[in-house]
Symmetry: C2
Subunit: 182 residues, 2 copies
DNA sequence: CAAAATCGTTCGTCAAGCCGAACGAAAGGA
DNA sequence: TCCTTTCGTTCGGCTTGACGAACGATTTTG
């Protein structure tokens, strides 16, 4: 895929996500409509200043203009996952998720006490949460995809919609990786 | 910081990291020396094609050209860590580590069976490992800073020196985050 | 229904980036 | 020591991207 095409697609995608017209975006970014039109048409070869203006106007990190598509969820039970080959049989590593080059990841240890479900509001668009349960049982996930997980389970889901955490019986300890776009 | 300056710094940084001369890089990327010279001097406003050629020639992801500048160890016991404030008392989150903008993070689930210590060779320079123990007891870390950890413990250490993993009694399950420079 | 506004595209002009050549400086070889 | 190579910078040209204006098409307003 040519860089021009990637950027063309990215601009259009981000613009439509922001629900803004081509003309309006051009105005906001201080660019000519014609310039933007050609860029989205894949007929351009923009310079940094132009791209920077666009990223700023769209309110997105600069590097978002160089990405193709988006991500989804995955539930990997404690017994599941593709093990990494090892010469030593007493060692098993499962790659839960590979970090794409355009994201940031913050690690949280979460102690969840039994009681009412904790509801979390939507995080910024594109946020993904990775939950790795250490002990206890937890029901969590976005409202339309809640899962019960046990120790060793790994559940990845979109964090940009409202979601819940609930300890089912006793305390629960889990590692939470907040995975957000740059 | 202006985008031009960022890119100028990034190019020079990546080029020097690759131990390659300006002339050689220009040739490899199919650019004129003059172009590259001006870019590194912060006097340019390059277009995508030019940047793409540079990223390709340098063998780095495109977005690395838009990042500014560039770890150590930390042992956080299960009972330790600064909790994130929460309005709900049945929820406790501890930020184990904040992801700097210039790194990548891959998550591994590791099952360690008792037996001889597993020795791991040094990873690329700057690599950091984050270990979050789910169950069992494990002795791990670089040879000069081995620690015993228990369930819920989090241990972060340099991965660019030889280090070991050893289950102390029975199986051990842990989440391993491989944190490597771009 | 017509006037007005807004949409996105196309065209000609001008500025700016990329190129090739020439330059002085520094390092290596005969 | 002199010659050769390589380094990075500077200087005209030529190409190309950004701009502004005008266009037809579509939607909104009175």
């Amino acid at each position: 895929m040519t860089p021009t095409a990637i950027i063309a697609a990215a601009i259009r995608r981000e613009r439509e996500l922001a629900q803004i017209s081509l003309s309006a975006l051009a105005a906001k970014a201080g660019l000519a409509k014609s310039t933007l039109s050609q860029l989205e048409g894949g007929k351009g070869n923009p310079n940094v200043e132009t791209l920077w203006a666009l990223a700023t106007a769209l309110g997105i990190p600069f590097s978002s203009l160089f990405e193709a598509a988006s991500a989804h969820g995955a539930l990997i039970r404690a017994a599941e996952g593709v093990s990494i080959a090892s010469s030593q049989s007493d060692f098993t590593a499962v790659l839960l998720d590979k970090c794409p080059p355009d994201r940031r990841r913050d690690l949280y240890r979460v102690l969840l006490k039994p009681g009412a479900a904790r509801q979390s509001d939507a995080h910024p668009r594109g946020t993904v949460e990775h939950a790795f349960l250490c002990s206890g049982r937890v029901r969590l996930g976005p409202l339309d995809a809640v899962e019960d997980i046990g120790p060793g389970d790994y559940y990845r889901y979109s964090g940009d919609a409202a979601h819940i955490y609930e300890a089912l019986a006793g305390e629960a300890l889990l590692l939470l990786v907040m995975d957000s776009p740059r």
